[in-house]
Every structure is written in C-alpha cells, then in structure tokens.
Amino acid sequence: MQKVHRFFFAFLIAMFFSLSLSGCYDSTEIDEEVYALAVGVDKGVSNIIRVTIQYATYKDGGGGQKSGGGGNGESAGGGKEEESGEVDGTVVATVEAPSLLEAINMLNLSSNRQISLFHTKMLVFSEDYAREGVMRYVEPLARYRQVRDSMRVVVCQGTAEEFIKKGSDYVGANMSKGMELSFYQSQNTGYFPDVFFHDFYASVLSPYGQSTAIYAGVNDFKQLEVPTNRELKLVTDLDMKPGQIPRKGGSKSEFFGTAVFDGDKMVGYLLQNETRFYLIATGKFQWGTFTFKDPQSPNYAFLLEITNSRKPEVEFRFEEGVPVIDLKIGLEAELVSSQSRINYEDLDRIAELETEVEKYFCDGIKRTIDKTQQEWNSDIFFFGKKAAAQFRTIQEMESYNWLQHYHQAEVNVDVDVKIRRSGFLFKAMPIQSTSAGQKGRE
C-alpha cells in the first residue's frame, strides 16, 4: 500500500510539473507572429518618425510567394497589391509615430499577427536622418529583447521606405535568406562593409574610434548610357555613389560604399574604391578583383584578385607630442587576366608589377585615411586601439581624447604585395594573325 501511495504521489508531482512544459506566459506559436525582415527609419511629416517594416507573408513555404511579373514593388497584381504594400512575397508597411518601438507596436494593426523583430536582418536609416544623429533610435533597439545583434545597419540615400520597397530577391523563394546572403557580397566584393548592430552600437560609444554603416541607394536603371560610335576608353578608377552603377536588371536596391559617422551622426561616405582601401587597412577585406591599366599597353588592362595575406600591423607612438602611426599591410594577388598578353609572371617583370600595384594601394589607402582625417576627423580605422596602449589609465586616455586628435596623426602606410599565381595560365603565348602588332608579340 505504501508503494502505491508513493507511486501516485510521484505521478501527481510529475503531472504538475509537466504543465510547465507546455510553456507559460511567454509561449508563442510560430505562426502567431510575423517576422520583420527589415526596419526602415525616415523623417516623419505629422510626427517625428516614419517607420517602415517589411515582413514575409508565408504564402509559399517559408519565403513567401513572389508576385508574378513586375518585381521591384511594381507587381502585376496592380492596385490591390500596391494598397496592401505587397512586394515579392512580403508586405511593406509604414507608419508615423513618436518613437521607433511604438511605431512597431502600431504596425501590429497592419497585420493580424504580432510583428516580431527576432529575425530582423537590417535596420535602414535614411541619410537625412542619419546626419542628424541615430542614437535615439538605436538605443531602444539595444535595450529591446527581440532585436538581434547580428542585424545589419544600413544608411540609404533617399528614403528608407523606398529602399526597402525596391529591394527584391530574384533567386530562390526565400526573401529572408536572400536578404542575409546579400550582406555576404561584402566578402565577395569589398564594395561595402558588413556592419553588425552590436558593432555599430559599441563603436558609437567607443573612445577608440568611430562607427561606420553600409551605404546604400536605389538604382533607377537609367545610368547605362545609350551606345554610340565613340571610341572606347578604359576607365579603371570608377568612383560612384550607390544608385549610380551603370547597370540594369536585378534588384534596384544596392549596397555600395561606407557611411562614416562621428559619434551617432553621419558625416560623410566613402565611395566603393575607398571602401575597399578602408577594408584592406582594417583587415576586413576578404577578396575582390581590381582592374589596372597596363603600364606597357595603356588601352589594355590587367586584373588582379586581391586578398589580405595577413592582419595589418599597426604601430603607434608619439613623436614630440604628435601621434605617429605606422601601418603595414600585406596583400596577396593572383594575376587573373593580362589583356595585352604581356607575360607579367616572368621573374624579371613580376617585381616591377608588384611595385606598381603596391604604389596603387599605398596611395589609395593613404588618400582614404587623409580623407577621414581632414574632412571628418573620424577614426573609422580604429587606430585609437593602439593609441590606448600609450596610456596607463582610462582617465588619462579620455582626457587626451584620441578622437579629437585623430586629424593630427601622421600615418605612414607600407603595403607589401606578393603576386603569387597567374590563374590557369602561365606565360601566355602570342595571338597569331596576319595583322601587325599582335597581342603578345614583343
């Protein structure tokens, strides 16, 4: 009898505690929520802030059904879809409110499910707003339990609403996956930095350096010039802002460049090549292709695929009160094209080419650093980390205030490029033809 009592007592206890397994006050079914993929912040008209949220509609598996035809927000569905804000299997809803989180709360009215920020991929600020200071919108997100630290921070030209609407993914059915993969293009190109929310927030508070964000814009596909019979000219040092890439097709939204901040205010931007130099100097450059004018055959180009061969070395010292920084960068290159078919991989030519390329990167990086010093006095390179080693205490460091002295720093850049390989070909043979001056003949 004793055993039976014990068994029932244990059974009752187990049953009681099993109630908690069903979840309690905080349990939410997955399909009771909609997951915001992007959050955009613009200036309001009737109130201080206009917030745009994009969330998947779940109409086709996880990613949402893409609207037929149109794309870029111009769906074939016409008026009804435009009214509901449906864009490629997602809904883009906008509201004006006194604060960011209340705006998101109000946007729950646009959906029959609760909007959750647990899977938000990016936070987009319009450039106008970013230039006035973003902290009051970033701070609540840093406190808010739903926000992911792996969310990216973007500053766009024009309005964030327009930028979000024009962002479409044409590959695969999953908008969320597409959005996340689009940030990986930073690693594949180096045309924009991949800035996580936690990094951005920490950098805004940092005494070591200043923050950056992904610079973005909308391309109206009108940048491609009409073909004419003009003579072709090779332009290798293209400097374009986002939205100015001469292209058409694909997503209209594009990440291209770096937004530079001083504290929480955007003060300027780096163009795409400057962004590459910035990423190389900070060791964040993964790989990218660079086109150079062939010094011996100016109408032709040679292409190098560049990677950081080692982490950049930074040495910091004071010389008569002036901060001096020695920056040493090691790059590895692969010759992926020599249009002139001149054999630059020859032992007696390779050193010459390396010197040429080193000069290009050295000048470019120096120019970019100068720009951040003289135009904005914004240490986005975080040289302040090394400056901190010169002080024993935080009080000493903060009273010196590195961020104020950054523009006085003398920065010496030394780039070491090693051309290691030449793709699948080694010492290309000349083209044989009846015309004189065939490529490759010397």
Binding site: C24, Y25, D26, R145, R148, H198, S206, Y208, K385, A389
Partner: protein, 368 residues
C-alpha cells in the same frame, strides 16, 4: 554540521565551483567592468588572490580543529551562546544570499527571455526546485552538481570559443583601467564574491576531511579566478569597456553575437540551459546551508519539516527589492562587495580568538 551523506573530490569540486562561477552569468561582469574598466580581468585576479589568502587562514582554523565543522568550531571557541549566535547569523546570511540570487536570476530572465511571466512564478519555481533538492539532502545536491558540471563548463567554454571572431584584445587597454589603486581596492572588496568557499568549512564532515577541503578550496578558487577573469576579458574584447558596462549580462550578450554563418548563429539557448542549471544548483546549496545552520542553532535534528516555512521566508525576502536598481545597487553590492565582513572576517576573528585562548591545536586533533 552533522554528517549529511558522503561524497568525493569531484562532487565537492563541482558543487563549490558551480556556486562560485554561477555569478559570471549574472550582472557581476557588468558591475566589475563598470567599476574597473579595462582592468576588470586584473581586478578579478586580485580578488582571487585575496580569497586564496583568506582561504589559507580558514585552512589554518580548520586544521586546528580537525574533524569539526565551522559551526562546531564557533561553539568550541566562543562558547555555546555566541557560537550559536554566529551560526544563526550565517543562516540568515545564506537565506538572504539565496533570496537575492533568485531575484537577480529572475530579473535577468525577465529582461532577456520571459518578459511576460510573473516574477512570483519564476521565484517560486526556482525555490521549489531548491526545496526539492534540499529535501533530498546535501549528497543529492552534490551529485546533481557533478552531473550538471559537464554541460555548465562545456557550454561556457563553447560560448567563449565560438565568440572568438568578435574579440579584439586591443580593447583591454589602457591596462590599469580606472587606475591601479582603484583596481586593487575593488579587487580586494570583490573577494566577497568568492565567499561561497566558506560552505566548504561548513560541510567539511561530508567531504573526507581536511585534504579534500584544501584541494577543492584551492582548485575551485583558482578556477573561479581564471574563468571570471577570462570572461571579463572576452566581454571587454568583444564590446569595449563603455558598451560592456551597460550589458546586464555580458555573457548572455556574448552568446547573442556568435555568428559564424547562416547555420551557426543564435545559440543563446545554450546559455539559458547552463545558466538555469548553475542557478538551480547554487540556490539549492545556499538554501540548504541556511536551513541546516538554522537547525544547528536550535538543535533541530531533521530539517525537512522546516522546508516549507524556509521556502516562504526566502521568497518573502526575495520580494523585498522593488526593482532592478535596488537589486543591483543595494543587495548585490552588499553580497559581492561587503559580505567578506561576515564570511571571511568572522572565521578569522575566531581563529585569532582560538590562538589567544589557546583552544584547539594538537590536543583537539583527531587521529589522521
């Protein structure tokens, strides 16, 4: 304390190490970093060395009275009335410690994971677990600690290792944070956060005596010092000192920034698991010690009938702080910065008293 089961080195080490290290999941890193800045890791090592020194004195006391636990020594040295008074003081301290730990756990859990669950439900659930473990007794708690030690330490290492890409060790500079003097003073005061080591002296009769006492004590304190220092360094390296001073739970925040690819991210669930395991063991141990100390004071042989009343008493104390600010700025500071006045100072005073009164020593020693 009366013999409450018997367990070996590993169980004892797991029990004490978990109780010591548990704080790393709470607000301790934030408080240390906000007070010491970039030298938080150094201050923690100073706390560890201070605690080792205190533990050395405690060891001398326990060696002088071999075969007796701390409460028996109190009575032997100071007399029954004062000795039992001190034991009761320890009972109240551990009750307060349990309540504030539970409340701190609840505050962080609500902030990060369960915003809509009532505080009372979380507090009572955790205390119910503590009471159930206390019902089983010290040996049960120690064996559970041994089982949980693997996921707790494994999970902790996993978080620290996986967050490696976000570390930049340059953020540990300037090396002396808010000043070397400040680091030493705060480091000394923060040795209170190692106060759980006193439990070893209370349960000494269950752990195979002085040898295990010394081995577990030294190893657990060193482990705590290294782990806490490493965690502070990693948090600083990931978030820099201004931002780290803001994060309620630096370790939770660290687990949130782990991002290796689309497939290896969002692993903070690991953190929640190990955190809850560690908290359950710590709360159960301190709850049990408080209960046993009370029983010893009033010569109550069986602690089980008192479980319910102690559970209610602890939950009442747990609800004293009105908000997070009170928890952090009054109660947590009282426990982790000033409790050394009780947990270290009282046994040391008793040691000096024993030396002056020539009590204990070889005449009292049992055969080895």
């Amino acid at each position: 304390m009366t013999r409450e089961g018997n367990f070996g080195f590993l169980e004892t080490f797991s029990l004490i190490a978990i109780a010591l290290i548990n704080k790393v999941f709470y607000t301790s890193p934030m408080i240390i970093i906000s007070e010491l800045g970039t030298s938080a890791w150094l201050g923690t090592l100073i706390s560890c060395l201070t605690s080792l020194s205190f533990f050395g004195l405690l060891y001398i006391l326990m060696k002088r009275f071999q075969g007796q636990d701390l409460f028996q020594i109190f009575e032997k040295v100071t007399g029954k009335l004062v000795g039992r008074g001190l034991t009761l003081l320890f009972s109240f301290y551990f009750l307060y410690y349990t309540a504030i730990n539970v409340r701190e756990f609840t505050a962080i859990l609500k902030a990060y994971s369960l915003p809509f669950t009532p505080i009372s439900l979380i507090v009572l659930s955790l205390l119910a677990i503590a009471a159930a473990m206390a019902y089983v007794g010290l040996e049960g708690i120690a064996r559970v600690a041994y089982v949980f030690a693997f996921p707790i330490f494994g999970g902790l290492v996993l978080i620290l290792v996986l967050a490696y890409p976000v570390y930049d060790w340059d953020y540990l500079r300037p090396i002396f944070g808010y000043g070397l003097e400040n680091t030493i003073i705060k480091g000394f005061l923060r040795s209170s956060a190692y106060g759980e080591i006193i439990i070893l002296a209370i349960i000494i009769n269950s752990i195979h005596g002085l040898k295990t006492f010394r081995q577990v004590g030294v190893n657990a304190l060193l482990l705590k010092g290294v782990v806490m220092s490493l965690c502070c360094a990693c948090i600083l390296a990931a978030f820099q000192y201004p931002s780290s001073s803001e994060h309620l739970s630096g370790m939770f925040q660290l687990s949130r920034v782990i991002y290796h690819s689309r497939f290896l991210q969002r692993i903070e669930a690991i953190f929640l698991f190990i955190w809850v395991f560690a908290s359950a063991v710590t709360v159960a141990l301190s709850f049990y010690v408080s209960l046993q100390a009370y029983c010893r004071t009033f010569l109550i042989e069986n602690h089980r009938p008192l479980l319910l009343s102690f559970l209610l008493l602890t939950s009442t104390v747990a609800f004293i702080p009105r908000n997070l600010s009170q928890i952090l700025e009054i109660h947590v500071i009282a426990i982790r910065e000033y409790s050394l006045l009780l947990v270290y100072a009282v046994p040391i005073l008793v040691l000096f008293l024993a030396l002056i009164l020539k009590r204990g020593g070889k005449s009292n020693a049992k055969s080895p």
